[in-house]
């Protein structure tokens, strides 16, 4: 953990509305998750109990407390995606990535990572791309009108190999 980097982030949010969430989001942007030491450091710097930061990190679904895979796949589970078969897309992805459904993190969030740490899989409530349902996102790219048929093709562009 780079303390100076986090200090810079904290400075950026001086007396700013939305400060704490903003700081945590910026830290997550660097590490892709919130390392424990970073939370401890922020707690010390801002004089906020660690319990409060931990509450925040586990309350909001955006935050991860564990290291994540190289590529993050997010399946949109919004209404439009649901009626157009998002659940099948999700199940299929779990099959393709060989991810165990019963695995959950200690804060109860749905966030699964493959053994080789190449992919992480989670769900989102709605990307607001309902017109393109069903939709998935890989890292920053959104794929619309996704079908089960083309999932392997999409995964392959991110280095997935069929086993």
């Amino acid at each position: 953990m780079n303390k100076e980097q986090i200090e810079d982030i904290i400075r950026k949010y001086d007396n700013h509305e939305g400060r704490i969430l903003g700081i945590l989001e910026d830290i997550q942007e660097i590490y892709k998750y919130l390392p424990k030491e970073s939370l401890e450091f922020v707690s010390e710097k801002l004089d906020i109990p660690l319990s409060k930061l931990y509450s925040i990190a586990t309350f909001y679904s955006f935050f991860n407390l564990k290291p994540v895979g190289e590529h993050i796949i997010t399946v949109c589970m919004g209404t439009a995606c649901h009626v157009r078969g998002a659940k099948d897309i999700l199940n299929n992805l779990m099959e393709l990535l060989k991810i165990d459904v019963n695995e959950t993190t200690e804060d109860g969030k749905f966030f699964l990572t493959t053994e080789d740490k190449h992919f992480s899989l989670n769900t989102a409530r709605c990307f607001g791309c309902c017109s393109m349902a069903p939709v998935i996102r890989v890292d920053d790219k959104i794929y619309g009108y996704v079908t089960i048929k083309e999932l392997p093709k999409i995964l392959k562009t991110y280095g997935w190999k069929s086993k």
């Binding site: 509305e17 704490i20 679904s61 589970m77 209404t79 439009a80 409530r125 709605c126 607001g128 017109s131």
Partner: protein, 638 residues
């Protein structure tokens, strides 16, 4: 430069018009809201950029989304003197064809319509050209014809990242009027007179809300734009911010002046990075021209806006939870009183309105409350943008006057079901709303009417469901959502919804009992009545309405263990129609559990081992010969 006088504003206006309607040059703009980008709009833009490197005669820009998402990516081509042509389903390979055939642009086959003139409302009507005589005008299309674009007055036409273009179409002229010619009370009078009601869902009259906030005496007051659009199936706010961010900013500045607030905050969900980027760009642009900051337009009024990002919690759309979140707390609703108008952010009077409410403000100030009342109906004036999605042909954003019948939106604009099946219901209002069956489709859409059938207006999600949608599964879907998004503070919402979900899961698994329906009804009533905040108070609505209008489906699941829509996996089986099967073995190869076996080339030998089948539906999707069928106790799709 700073804008202080009308002359300054006019000067920028002229600059903007030159960009929007260049005299000698062709202007190509690519629809690049998130929806357009996700189907390849960005690739088209890059290709154009590459191909237009040496073309001085063509200007390339971005624009937002006009709402016709079904045919995206869209590209607008403005040809001086002739007008704007809109191309649909544009792919990078089409780019060359478009730029090399500008002289016969209207003859290309993927032209969807033209824009000859456009009413940006805050300016005089702008004529883009009337030279394309054989192409239908945009408002002659079935999708657009019943629409009335007030909120989406600039969406998909102007470049949302350029403040000059917003000013070119009359932007910030309402702010000018408000600050130079009107007192705060006069503004509130107009807003009250307009009858505008909160577009976030509850429909509280905006003018009255402002009046309450104005009355509070305090050294500091806050104003918040609620951009935490969390309803699954609703994305109009995203588009409003991505396609016309300045209309939100202008509305907020006027609101700040009217209620006496010095600081505005936009609370936006983290899932909308592009909207956030464009809003920030808009704020920077407005600051640059002195439209935000100290002494705005030389009026002595100070106001600034910052953006606060959410982190993925639906409940933060609730006002008190939203405030808690901005203050850096977990988003748990707080008991009222005190109300935010009295003690909101940091204990100061705070006024919160939804994105779409803010975009309406410049219109009301510019054209007057009476003008606004000319749209919509008596109790619900104005328009509402709906995100029409789900199983209709034309999915997209539809802005209609309130009071328009549901059927106009579903059949005329939406074009009916996409599957060839019949539409069976629409779901409005997201997880707080209900499922409205077709027998109510004559109902004019307004706050009271939707409430009268057990749903709500909500933020404007409208999800069409057809015969392949199981209503028990739909109710389960929404409860799964609210159980996951409940903050967990109060017992009825946290525990009650969970048990409702248990019961629904049992029913969809074929383990339902007759008394379950009564228990669901009782629990719904208690959760609705005793929950702390709006989330719990409305979360049972999807269950209540499906129980009311589609009870037969529940009974089918409970008594006959059958899912008529063939959705609930525990109640369906996949089978291979051996007459249709060609023995290509694609299904067997793709089956994740190796449940399908047969001899290659011999269709009659392929069978699904029901013990191994996990009902993922892969076989059905990959089969090219429609040989895989779904069945549920005698019902089948075969």
């Amino acid at each position: 430069m700073r804008i202080n006088t009308l002359e300054d504003l006019k000067y920028i206006r002229e600059t903007g018009l030159k960009k929007l309607k260049p005299k000698q040059k062709v202007r190509i703009s690519v629809g690049m809201a998130t929806c357009g980008i996700s189907v390849g709009g960005d690739a088209v833009f890059e290709e154009l950029k590459e191909k237009l490197k040496n073309r001085e005669d063509i200007i390339l820009t971005k624009t937002g989304c006009i709402g016709f998402c079904h045919v995206e990516p869209l590209v607008n081509v403005y040809i001086p003197g002739k007008g704007i042509l809109i191309y649909h389903h544009v792919q990078p390979k089409d780019v060359e064809k478009i730029i090399n055939n500008l002289d016969k642009a209207e003859q290309l086959d993927n032209v969807v319509c033209q824009i000859d003139k456009w009413d940006h409302i805050t300016s005089d009507e702008i004529i883009y050209g009337e030279g394309f005589t054989n192409i239908p005008c945009w408002n002659e299309l079935k999708f657009f014809k019943p629409q009335r674009k007030l909120v989406m007055r600039n969406s998909g036409i102007i470049n949302p990242e350029d403040i000059d273009e917003y000013i070119a179409v009359g932007g910030y002229s309402a702010l000018f009027k408000a600050l130079k010619e009107m007192t705060p009370d006069e503004i509130i009078y107009e807003v009250k007179g307009s009858g505008l009601r909160g577009r976030g869902g509850a429909g509280f009259p905006t003018g009255i809300k402002w009046e309450l906030a104005k009355k509070e005496k305090s050294d500091i007051k806050y104003l918040i734009c609620n951009a935490d659009e969390g309803d699954p199936g609703a994305y109009m706010n995203r588009n409003e911010m991505e396609s016309d961010p300045h209309s939100v900013i202008e509305g907020m500045i006027i609101g700040g002046y009217a209620i006496g607030a010095q600081k505005g905050i936009i609370y936006i969900r983290a899932e909308y990075p592009l909207a956030l980027y464009r809003l920030q760009k808009a704020i920077d642009g407005a600051r640059h021209y002195g439209l935000l900051g100290k002494n705005i337009l030389g009026s002595g009024f100070d106001f600034d806006i910052t953006i606060s990002k959410g982190a993925g919690a639906f409940v933060c759309g609730e006002e008190t939870a939203l405030i808690a979140s901005i203050e850096g707390d977990i988003g748990r609703p707080r008991p009222r009183p005190p109300f935010p108008a009295q003690k909101g952010l940091w204990g100061k009077p705070t006024n919160i309105n939804n994105v779409e409410t803010w975009t309406n403000i410049p219109l009301i100030v510019k054209k007057g409350g009476d003008w606004f009342r000319g749209f919509g109906n008596e109790k619900s004036p104005g328009t509402k943008v709906f995100s029409l999605v789900g199983k209709v042909e034309n999915v997209g954003l539809a802005e209609v006057e309130l009071g328009t019948p549901i059927k106009t939106v579903v059949y005329n604009i939406g074009g009916g079901a996409s599957s060839g099946k019949k539409v069976k219901a629409v779901q409005t209002g997201g997880p707080s709303g209900g499922c409205i069956p077709t027998k109510f489709f004559d109902l004019p859409i307004d706050y009271e009417n939707l409430a009268s059938v057990g749903s709500i207006m909500g933020s404007g999600g409208m999800v069409a469901m057809d015969e392949n949608t199981c209503m028990v599964d739909t109710a389960k879907f929404f409860l799964d959502f609210t159980v996951d998004e409940s903050c967990g503070k109060c017992v009825p919402c946290r525990e009650g919804l969970k048990h409702m979900l248990f019961i629904l899961e049992n029913i969809t698994k074929g383990n339902g009992k007759e008394e379950d329906i009564g228990t669901l009804e009782e629990l719904s009533e208690t959760v609705k009545t005793t929950s702390l905040c709006g989330l719990g108070q409305t979360a049972p609505n999807p269950v209540i309405t499906t129980l009311k209008y589609f009870k037969d489906e529940y009974i089918e699941h409970i008594n006959n263990k059958r899912c008529p829509a063939l959705v609930c996996t525990a109640l369906i089986e996949f089978e291979i129609d051996q007459k249709k099967c060609t023995g290509c073995s694609v299904c067997a190869k793709r089956c994740p559990t190796k449940a399908i076996e047969g001899i290659l080339g011999k269709g009659e030998t392929f069978k699904i081992d029901q013990n191994k089948c996990i009902k993922c539906g892969t076989c059905l999707e990959v089969c090219k010969f429609d040989a895989v069928i779904k069945t549920s106790k005698g019902v089948s799709n075969g």
